[in-house]
């Protein structure tokens, strides 16, 4: 009763959906369809409503159906009726040209409404907590540092409104501080201007660093358990946080970071900015701070990004996603909405079983598959089975 869920999704001109009205009447929903029919787009729509951003950070314009782009007022509209703690809310995002006029190549903007009232994008985050599993999750281990920062941000923003606000402010300060450094490098000027931006960068940045440090420690514990289960106890996973400022300037690099108080982090951050002033002025951009954070995955002391096999990287990515799920569940007091995009085909039997047992423990999950056989009959019998064909959704016969 009263657990978190999405009741209804309504789309207009979102990617390949011109119009969609879909009820989620059951805890489990299984969507089957060939490639490029709209399975991923549907999960993405829910993800956008939950986090206010797309999973791959694409331009706003790309959310709008390409046919609608030809119209005089092109727009996309996403609406979800959601429920959390017994409270029903309507989340809405409209993507439309910024100045309200068509013209050639207008910039598109997201407008957010909650229960019909215009709000900021960050007010949306956390109203429908989700975890999205994608085949590309392996990039969490093999990809660039930005992928790992996004992983941390998406999880933390949904469970911690203060983190979400600090992140939004940090990014605003970061843009302006970098612009000032560039301005000072190119045209010179009074360096006293840096004082304000240093203070703000340290203030918001330290909040992010402290919270990430804490979260990584919690994630490590959860991921270790998952990794052990997925490898029959053979692999012991370690996470190492590589913060974008030196949090242990007086310790050798190999040592484990001490957990620091926010006040201590602020002091270290401030010192680093003062010491690095000339370097930043020469670079004309911000060199220190959580926007340079990274995370390393180690098994037996080996860095898996560089030395892990594809299979090993995939297993660790799955363990990290399951850990994200667990940490969010603890923070929220109930599991988030689980979105699984075409995950099963990539996984071996043991990894499938781990994912299925997680699936069975959540109040609501929406999964996609190319083949019905990706999910066993027992699962299909409990799920509502739908077919996705060219941006339309129809009920599928159970025997399919």
């Amino acid at each position: 009763m009263g657990s978190m869920r999405i009741h209804h999704l309504s789309l207009a001109n979102f990617r390949n959906y011109t119009r969609l009205e879909l009820d989620f009447s059951t805890p489990l929903t299984l969507l089957q369809g060939d490639n490029a029919q709209g399975k991923t787009n549907l999960l993405e729509a829910i993800y956008v409503l939950a986090t206010s951003r797309t999973p791959h950070a694409v331009a706003e314009r790309e959310m709008v159906n390409w046919l609608a782009l030809e119209e005089s007022f092109p727009y996309a509209r996403l609406v979800a009726d959601v429920e959390r703690a017994g409270r029903r809310q309507r989340l809405e995002i409209v993507v439309a040209p910024q100045n309200g006029e068509g013209g050639n190549g207008p910039t598109f903007r997201k407008q957010v409404k909650i229960n019909g009232v215009a709000r900021r994008a960050l007010d949306l985050v956390g109203l429908l907590p989700v975890v999205l599993f994608l085949p590309e999750d392996i990039e969490l281990v093999s990809g660039a540092p930005a992928v790992r920062r996004r992983y941390l941000n998406v999880a933390l923003c949904q469970i911690d409104a203060a983190y979400c606000r600090a992140l939004a402010e940090y990014n605003r300060v970061l843009t302006r501080r970098s612009a000032l450094l560039r301005h000072l490098r190119e045209r010179g000027g009074n360096q006293d201007q840096m004082r304000f931006w240093d203070e703000r960068l340290v203030m918001y940045g330290s909040t992010l660093l402290a919270r990430r440090q804490e979260a990584i420690s919690a994630l490590e514990g959860e991921a270790q358990t998952r990794q052990r289960a997925l490898t029959q106890g053979r692999e012991h996973l370690r996470l190492r946080y590589l913060p974008g400022i030196d949090l242990a300037p007086d310790r050798p690099e190999e040592e484990v970071l001490p957990m620091l108080e926010a006040a201590r982090i602020e002091a270290l951050f401030g010192e680093e900015l003062r010491a690095g002033r000339e370097k930043e002025l020469a670079a004309g951009t911000c060199l220190y701070g959580p926007h340079r954070d990274d995370l390393r995955f180690l098994i037996g002391g080996r860095d898996l990004r560089l030395y892990g096999s594809r299979g090993q990287q995939r297993t660790v990515a799955l363990a990290m996603k399951l850990a994200e799920m667990a940490v969010m569940t603890q923070a929220l007091g109930e599991p988030p909405l689980l979105l699984l995009d075409d995950m099963m085909s990539e996984l071996d039997a043991r990894r499938r079983a781990a994912l299925l047992s997680t699936l069975n423990g959540v109040p609501q999950a929406i999964c996609t598959a190319t083949d019905w056989s990706d999910f066993d009959e027992g699962f299909r019998a409990r799920a509502r089975c739908l077919r996705v064909v060219e941006g339309r959704i129809e009920e599928a016969e159970r025997s399919a």
Binding site: R172, R176, H183, Q193, R195, R200
Partner: protein, 201 residues
């Protein structure tokens, strides 16, 4: 509708309107055609207003507000308190604060805020003139009433730092303003409270 078939004067006006902030080509055409059909008098009034805007206004040499005379009426008003100076970004901010009738000191208009993203540095604003004024005039308090967004805050912080050396009392408009709010758009009650609750920085 192709603009090529339109008479030159219409095109010229559409283009002039399009250059204004917040006005796209469609709105510009609508305004131009409205004026084309409007009575002669209305169009002439607009033309005259536009001409006077430049011909009959000056920047006050003392406070840099836009006025009909220099020094402006506020600067000439001897009943006002010359020991307190309210620093604002734009002339419209003066209008907003005057509306509250809470403030009886003098003003200093910076004509913008420091904005690294837009390439606006302190040297592009009336900041040196402010320092010069504080040195020459019997100012005891400077009230920084720049906007409550990042640009306004950073400008206030920078100016406060420069004024610290002079030993003058520097205060900031209290955070009665909505966060990210402009002075210009704050309602009178909010602004009155912000003026009363100013704090030292």
């Amino acid at each position: 509708m192709s603009t090529q078939v339109l008479p030159g004067p219409v095109i010229k006006l559409i283009e002039a309107f399009s250059g204004l902030p917040g006005i796209g080509p469609k709105t510009a055409s609508r305004l131009a055609f409205y004026l084309l059909r409007a009575p002669q008098e209305q169009a002439l009034n607009l033309a005259e207003a536009l001409q006077d805007l430049k011909a009959r206004t000056v920047l006050c040499a003392r406070c840099f507000n836009i006025a009909e005379t220099s020094p402006c009426a506020i600067c000439q008003d001897e009943t006002r308190d010359a020991s307190i100076l309210c620093v604002v970004e734009e002339p419209l901010d003066v209008v907003a604060i005057e509306r509250t009738r809470e403030f009886r000191g003098h003003y200093h208009v910076l004509h913008g805020a420091i904005s690294p993203v837009e390439g606006i540095g302190p040297e592009d604003l009336k900041i040196d003139a402010l320092l010069e004024r504080v040195r020459r005039e019997p100012v005891r308090e400077v009230l920084l009433a720049t906007n409550a967004n990042l640009e306004g805050e950073s400008t206030a912080s920078y100016v406060a730092h420069l004024l610290k050396a002079s030993g003058i009392r520097v205060t900031r408009l209290a955070r009665g303003l909505p966060v990210g709010g402009d002075v210009e758009y704050a309602d009178e009650i909010t602004l009155s409270r912000a003026l009363e609750g100013r704090r030292e920085i």
